[in-house]
């Protein structure tokens, strides 16, 4: 199969370019396997990857215009030539490796940790199975960045808009029966940008490799804000 891979080494290249590759594709080959095989042809090709099973979230890439996780996406899902680019909207460090620092900053900004103010019990804080079910579809996020880097609102305002990943995590803690910082969390999301720059374009939902739904989470936060305001 024919591949076109985005290449850029800031020390060497004045501008990025697409490099052509040919590769014999094995049945069941994932995009990550293909990139590893291409790296055998040219060891200077750089990309992030690790677990190979869709849980570490290292290898978000853009393939034929779609953000995907390399290790869980079959090569045969795509038409030739398969064009692989870094995830959009982030500064490119080299080849397929992007600078994720702003994405991580937005994650940190939502205080993504449990805040429990009451004295702690000697054993676990009790939580019913139904209360725990509310965290399903939220806690599984692997922080690959596919959603936020597919979001036009995040492209335009990455320093002000939290983006779908961070907002999904904001809701993960708001939805947790053990968390006792609801007011603070909602107050912190006020204003025109952090939350409200979401225009429900829903690219995030389409690209999430774990089938999570940030748009729904954002809607839930808005509902809760409204409920608390009345």
């Amino acid at each position: 199969m024919r591949f076109r891979i985005y290449r850029y080494d800031p020390d060497k290249d004045s501008a990025p370019y697409l490099q052509n590759f040919e590769l014999d594709v094995r049945p069941g080959m994932m995009l990550r396997d293909a990139l590893l095989a291409l790296k055998e042809q040219d060891e200077s090709l750089s990309f992030r990857h690790s677990c190979g099973e869709g849980v570490c979230g290292s290898d978000g890439i853009n393939v034929n215009g779609h953000n995907v996780l390399g290790c869980t996406t079959p090569v045969k899902d795509f038409k030739e030539p398969i064009t692989v680019r870094p995830m959009p909207g982030r500064p490119v460090i080299r080849d397929l490796v992007v600078d994720m620092s702003q994405f991580y900053q937005q994650y940190k900004a939502v205080k993504p940790y449990l805040i429990h103010k009451d004295p702690l019990p000697e054993q676990e804080i009790l939580q019913s199975p139904e209360e725990r079910d509310r965290l399903d579809g939220l806690y599984e996020c692997i922080m690959c960045g596919c959603c936020s880097t597919a979001c036009p609102s995040f492209w335009w305002n990455p320093e002000k808009f939290h983006g779908p990943q961070a907002l999904l995590q904001a809701w993960r803690f708001l939805a947790d029966s053990r968390d006792q910082a609801t007011e603070d969390r909602l107050d912190a999301l006020e204003g025109p940008y952090k939350l409200f720059r979401c225009h429900t374009i829903m690219n995030c939902v389409e690209v999430c490799p774990k089938q999570l739904n940030p748009t729904r989470a954002i809607g839930k936060i808005r509902e809760l804000m409204l409920k608390n305001a009345i």
């Binding site: 060891e43 099973e53 940790y113 199975p129 209360e131 806690y139």
Partner: protein, 587 residues
């Protein structure tokens, strides 16, 4: 060009569960801690742990830490140190509660308490009925724990060096560890991090083998650094093969699949574990189940056109249990096998999974070196925890669910001991520039240009050697050949060349440095395995099929210098309870 130098109270190499739990203790005590990781922390391999973490909470059936201790000692095939095992099993209970308080989204029982499932090698009442001791967040427990610990470190404002690769430890002439030379992957610039205490928490070395459940990053970097710093590696012959890796591919199918009621069948549809472990059946210890599968396949009872695997049957559990308790397993089977375990069995085979051995430590996480006279001495300011360490709580075979427990308990213990150490040692020691030079040499060696072997070819050879010569069943001659072949690779390492000498995010350079680490770990593993002339736990020799307590109830220690092996006794005395003497191990 002058080398960038940074100073911290403590340095942690690795940001998996052990590193992050240690960092959390240190940051919470207002110490200045640097956490160095070659990947962003949530990419660490702890994220891939599925089934859960053991603690005798007794939420489902009666349980107590003493039974957990018995199971762990028995599981270790009596090679585990009983003081460390007692400590771990006692600490398990508060450790899991602390995790829960920190936000881990554990699955829940109707009582509102943490869900616990059955896992292999667990019993009530010292070998009685099956226990349910493994605390789980569906089949994503490692992910849930790693993310929670990272989140708590954000709260505690730990200082992270994300995507920095550790080149080597820096030590002085007295053997004290002064910090490490690290490489900023993004810029290709080296940085010297000075610290009064250094913790290695860099994880395992599953990349030694061709088929492995381990991630690309699991290259034994910390263990190899310890070897180069003159510290031996302990019990490296004990490498766990997980019974249920996806056949030919290696992805892990959690033991929790059997804990929830799944079982293994051969080509005749026979539930063969009934023959190998009449009581525990599919929930026998991992070494027992892996050998049983390998034996079935050897005897021609394997499944598939090559008769090279067995099947893990889950369809009888029903879609509700699978959706609720094993959702990731189902997703993974659909992605990689195009099957739904609700309907079809999963092809599985024993797959390289976990290194029981590692950097020798005591139960405070302090690295202990053995002097010529056999007495143990703490290396000042040097700590190790997690899979790269050998406390030893797993001995010759680790129980499922004890790995997350090990990283949490001993990561925490190391963190607490470092707080004391740093308080008692208020000053940084004098930097040893000769040692820095040496570490810089390890980096600059890869600037050499010209023709030569390439990294990927040598790495592939090494993995094949390990798979062919040091697998589930081992014999003298096969391992001796393996040692020779690794030696040949080691001798030719200096001829390996990079084509890519660029500076910025050069992953080829990182892989070259990882290859050097893997070669040293391979030699440690194969030499230790060849030397141990008995079968114990995961180390199974056709030529010495029996356990030999009279001669071999002792830990191996491999030293890089001269490829030397030494031995030290197993610590059979627990802290407060009676010792569990070795017994025949049946499940």
């Amino acid at each position: 060009m002058s080398l960038v130098r940074r100073r911290f109270d403590a340095l942690i190499l690795g940001a998996g569960g052990a590193g992050l739990n240690a960092a959390l203790q240190l940051s919470s005590a207002d110490l200045r801690v640097a956490v160095v990781s070659k990947v962003f922390p949530t990419r660490s391999h702890t994220v891939a742990a599925q089934g859960g973490v053991n603690a005798a909470l007794a939420n489902v059936v009666p349980d107590n830490w003493h039974w957990h201790m018995f199971d762990t000692v028995k599981g270790s095939d009596y090679l585990g140190d009983q003081d460390a095992i007692e400590f771990m099993c006692r600490e398990a209970v508060p450790t899991v509660y602390e995790l829960e308080h920190n936000g881990v989204p554990f699955s829940r029982l109707d009582s509102g308490r943490i869900y616990q499932r059955a896992f292999g090698g667990q019993s009530q009442d010292f070998g009685g009925a099956q226990a349910a001791r493994t605390c789980a967040a569906a089949d994503r427990t490692g992910h849930a724990i790693l993310h929670t610990l990272f989140q708590q470190n954000i709260r505690a404002r730990s200082h992270f060096f994300d995507e920095y690769f550790a080149i080597d430890l820096i030590r002085d002439d007295e053997g004290a560890i002064l910090g490490a030379l690290v490489l900023e992957i993004e810029t290709g610039e080296p940085v010297l991090i000075e610290a009064r205490a250094t913790l290695i928490a860099s994880g395992g070395s599953g990349q030694l083998f061709r088929t492995t459940t381990n991630a690309h990053i699991n290259t034994g970097d910390g263990m190899a650094m310890a070897l180069r710093a003159g510290v031996p590696l302990q019990d490296m012959e004990f490498f766990q093969f997980h019974p249920t890796g996806i056949a030919g591919k290696g992805m892990l199918i959690t033991e929790g699949a059997r804990g929830e009621g799944g079982y293994l069948i051969n080509k005749d549809g026979e539930r063969f574990m009934e023959r190998y472990a009449p009581n525990a059946k599919d929930l026998a210890s991992r070494d027992v189940v892996s050998r049983a599968i390998a034996t079935e396949v050897r005897e021609g009872k394997g499944c598939g056109p090559q008769a090279d695997h067995v099947m893990l049957k889950l369809d009888h559990l029903g879609s509700e249990i699978i959706a609720k308790r094993l959702p990731s397993i189902r997703e993974m089977c659909k992605t990689f096998l195009h099957i739904d375990p609700v309907e079809s069995p999963i092809p599985v085979f024993p797959t390289a999974h976990y290194v029981m051995g590692g950097i020798p430590t005591d139960r405070f996480g302090r690295v202990v070196a053995t002097s010529g006279s056999g007495s143990e001495q703490v290396v000042p300011g040097f700590y190790a925890a997690g899979e790269c360490a050998c406390v030893s709580v797993h001995g010759a075979n680790r129980l499922g669910g004890n790995s997350l427990l090990d990283i949490l308990v001993f990561g925490r213990a190391a963190g607490l001991d470092i707080i004391d150490f740093v308080r008692d040692n208020p000053n940084h020691r004098q930097m040893n520039e000769a040692s820095v030079e040496q570490a810089m040499g390890r980096l600059s060696r890869w600037d050499a240009k010209g023709e030569g072997l390439d990294v990927k070819t040598v790495k592939a050879q090494l993995k094949k050697i390990m798979e062919d010569h040091c697998s589930v069943f081992r014999t003298e001659q096969v391992m001796q050949e393996g040692i020779e072949q690794i030696r040949r690779i080691r001798d030719r390492l200096s001829e390996v060349r990079l084509r890519d000498h660029s500076r910025v995010f050069n992953t080829a350079r990182i892989e070259a440095l990882e290859l050097e680490n893997l070669v040293d770990i391979a030699m440690a593993t194969m030499m230790s395995a060849e030397a141990r002339k008995e079968s114990r736990g995961a180390h199974s020799r056709a030529d010495y099929p029996k356990r030999d307590d009279a001669n071999w109830m002792k830990h191996s220690l491999y030293r890089l210098e001269g490829d030397q092996l030494e031995w030290k006794p197993v610590r059979t005395e627990p802290l407060t309870v009676e010792s569990f003497p070795p017994k025949e191990r049946v499940y």
